[in-house]
């Protein structure tokens, strides 16, 4: 247990001191994007890894969070904090409403229903021109300010995002080690068995779904304050798939999975953008995608449980102990 606390301490210290060593806004930008995606993937990880439900529509909640902030701060002139809070509530409400009927579906059908929901919301972003500004998007989103502290530089935003990641991680850490977390894992293993044991499977699944939507909305709200421009294109189907990819590569049902998955996918994209033209001069994004695919496939072949299972490296393997 002490070892674990020490690990946390070292990690937090590392993240806190990192900006002292990297003065580059670019690397901070990469870390901010990783942090935002981590928040979403943590939520998705609860839904997929613990409650065992797949969602191909989380870009919709991400987008809803962004648009809530964009509309409330520009058209309604709300202060930034209430707008950010609203960006958690609205996706949560929508998830609660659609979750009821949707989560009655299982496996493939649930995946298809969430996929349809994601596409539907993306169409709404494009079509509700009076509210969302249509395909041209919305500009003029102010910077987030908390009591006079304006998050206008990358370094400030870096701390904001990673403190959020830490808080969310702590909450999730408590959640998965609670009765609720154990019940969720039971659902993942067998819905029928857990129902017979008296677990309210429908209620728990819905709670996990709403929780993941709230986190996606939070990341979306922060994203809008970071880029200060919102348009429908980052919230399409492709992004939903990317979130699922991050969750799976990172490792479902593991604590470090979301961070490692989001970090790997974003960092790999950036590394390839720089590395591929060195190997193949003049190569564009097409080549990057090929290498991206190859590397991800290798990881899944070598480590099907995902990168999050890498903490096993530091533990003595349990199987051997039993033997």
């Amino acid at each position: 247990m002490n070892k674990k606390i020490a690990l946390w301490g070292i990690l937090i210290l590392a993240f806190a001191l990192l900006p002292l060593f990297i003065k580059s806004n670019y690397l901070l930008g990469v870390l901010i994007v990783i942090g935002l995606y981590t928040i979403i993937v943590i939520g998705l990880g609860i839904l997929m890894g613990y409650a065992g439900q797949v969602s191909f529509g989380h870009a919709a909640f991400f987008g809803m969070g962004s648009y809530t902030v964009a509309v409330l701060t520009t058209a309604c002139h709300w202060p930034t904090i209430p707008a950010l809070i609203a960006s958690l509530i609205l996706p949560g409400l929508v998830a609660a409403i659609i979750g009821g009927p949707t989560l009655k579906l299982r496996e493939l059908y649930l995946a298809l229903a969430t996929l349809a929901f994601g596409i539907l919301v993306h169409i709404l972003f494009n079509e509700l021109k009076g509210i969302t500004g249509g395909p041209s998007g919305m500009t003029g989103i102010p910077y987030l300010s908390i009591g006079g502290l304006v998050f206008d530089r990358d370094i400030k935003f870096y701390y904001l995002v990673w403190v959020t990641v830490l808080l969310v991680s702590l909450a999730v850490h408590n959640l998965i080690h609670s009765r609720m977390g154990r019940a969720m894992r039971a659902i993942r293993e067998s819905e029928h068995a857990s129902e017979t044991s008296g677990i309210d499977t429908a209620g728990l699944k819905l709670q996990a779904f709403v929780f993941s939507a709230v986190l996606a909305g939070l990341a979306g709200g922060l994203y809008a304050f970071y880029v200060t421009f919102v348009s429908p294109s980052p919230f399409g189907f492709h992004t939903s798939v990317q979130f699922v990819l991050m969750a799976v590569v990172g490792g479902l049902g593991t604590f470090w999975g979301p961070l490692l998955g989001a970090g790997l996918v974003v960092a790999l994209g950036e590394v390839l953008r720089w590395a591929i033209p060195l190997v193949i001069p003049g190569a564009g994004g097409e080549y990057q995608i090929i290498f991206f695919g190859i590397i991800l496939m290798l990881i899944m072949v070598i480590k099907p449980e995902g990168l999050g299972a890498i903490t096993d490296l530091f533990k003595k393997p349990r199987v051997e102990e039993v033997q």
Binding site: Y26, S233, G282
Partner: protein, 394 residues
């Protein structure tokens, strides 16, 4: 089991190291050219792959060709030019990261890009904060307006309003005052709709029918049927191929019997090919590049256009299009500014803003503190397609 764990560990370490290394990659290239004066570094973020790649690829080709040309001729005032082109994969988040990389890692003096309006918009906050001049190659007028929030942002593509004004003058001249407006449901079509509606309200043209279609639609007959019954004297379509070509085919099949006008978005051979012979008779406002052989020698752009066509065709075995032209303009506006201002971002911005009478591919640029595009209606001509060829309308 143990072996696998070690392998995974190694992979993770490599990736982590790669991320850190990518941070210091920028400084290497500069030393190569240290023989002469300090090089001028500029960057470009272009939509080379992804949904806007048809715009980005000719832009990338043009920029590479021009950078080689400038360096072969001895650089700018003896300073070699180092151009770094990054691909944003038509993704807004990647565009933000790419422009931060150019500014922080490569320490560029100015940024060109992006190819599309959305990706361009996403970079504005960063360049404004870092005070780096940016020249966008995209259409939307929102990229440079309001100017007081966009001091560092310029653009070379004609704004929608310039194209619309040209089109409006033509409609009024021909007495076509009741028109139908059809548009593609994306940023391009929507931008056209907003500008066209505003211009119609302002000046004597009535929109009797407004219809839209998706970029992926395969048949626009229902929309055109409604236009047919609306009593429109002409149809204006705001779209790019392939949907622009499909609607043109439908238009011919339905024997609409009214003139069909398109936007400059169809200004490439692809449109004519996909329309399969139905494009004849289509009228559109467009930059002069496509009819460079037909414009009078007295035109200030004539020489620039011919040189660009000749050089591009020679290098890439295909004629350039207007998107490459936007990159040409952005590049030489920047080279001009570097000649006058040297390696000083603020001075480059000031010179760009004072650009007067610059004859480029897209038109003659006259920028000012209130206009960071600098093009007017004179930069466009009306063109009609005849036997699959572009013909200048007098």
């Amino acid at each position: 089991m143990k072996k696998k764990r070690i392998l995974t560990g190694i992979i993770t370490v490599i990736i982590a190291a790669g991320l850190l290394l990518s941070g210091c990659a920028g400084s290497k290239e500069a030393t190569k050219t240290s023989a002469g004066k300090e090089p001028y570094k500029i960057g470009a973020v272009i939509d080379i792959s992804g949904s806007s790649s048809s715009l980005g690829v000719p832009e990338k080709n043009t920029l590479q060709m021009l950078a080689d040309k400038v360096n072969a001729a001895g650089g700018i005032n003896g300073h070699p030019l180092v151009l770094t082109i990054l691909d944003n994969k038509s993704d807004e988040t990647e565009a933000v990261l790419a422009v931060k990389k150019l500014i922080d890692q490569e320490k560029v003096l100015a940024v060109l890009g992006c190819s599309a309006s959305g990706t361009s918009m996403s970079m504005i906050d960063t360049v404004q904060k870092e005070k780096v001049p940016m020249i966008s190659l995209a259409a939307s007028s929102k990229i440079v307006e309001p100017v007081q929030e966009r001091q560092w942002v310029f653009k070379t593509a004609q704004s929608d309003i310039v194209t619309i004004n040209k089109l409006m003058s033509y409609l009024k001249e021909k007495g076509l005052t009741n028109v139908a407006f059809l548009y593609m449901n994306n940023a391009y079509g929507d931008g056209g709709r907003i500008a066209f509606t505003a211009a119609a309200q302002a000046g004597g043209v009535e929109i009797v029918a407004e219809e839209k279609f998706e970029a992926t639609d395969k048949d626009m007959t229902p929309q055109l049927t409604r236009v047919k019954t609306s009593g429109a004297q002409a149809a204006v379509v705001w779209a790019i191929p392939p949907s622009a070509s499909i609607i043109t085919r439908n238009f011919k099949d339905l024997n609409m019997g009214i003139p069909l006008l398109h936007s400059h978005g169809v200004g490439n051979q692809n449109f004519i090919d996909l329309a399969q012979g139905a494009a004849d008779g289509v009228i559109l406002p467009i930059g002069k590049l496509i009819v460079a052989d037909q414009i009078p020698d007295s035109d200030p752009q004539k020489k620039v256009l011919n040189t660009y066509i000749e050089e591009y065709s020679k290098k890439y075995n295909s004629p350039p299009n207007s998107f490459g032209g936007y990159a040409w303009d952005g590049f030489y506006l920047l080279v001009n500014a570097l000649e006058k201002a040297g390696a000083d971002r603020a001075a480059i911005r000031d010179v760009l803003e004072k650009t007067q009478g610059f004859s480029g591919v897209s038109g003659v640029f006259n920028m000012s503190a209130s206009d960071h595009n600098g093009l007017n209606e004179d930069s466009m001509v009306m063109v009609q397609i005849e036997n699959g060829k572009w013909k200048l309308l007098k």
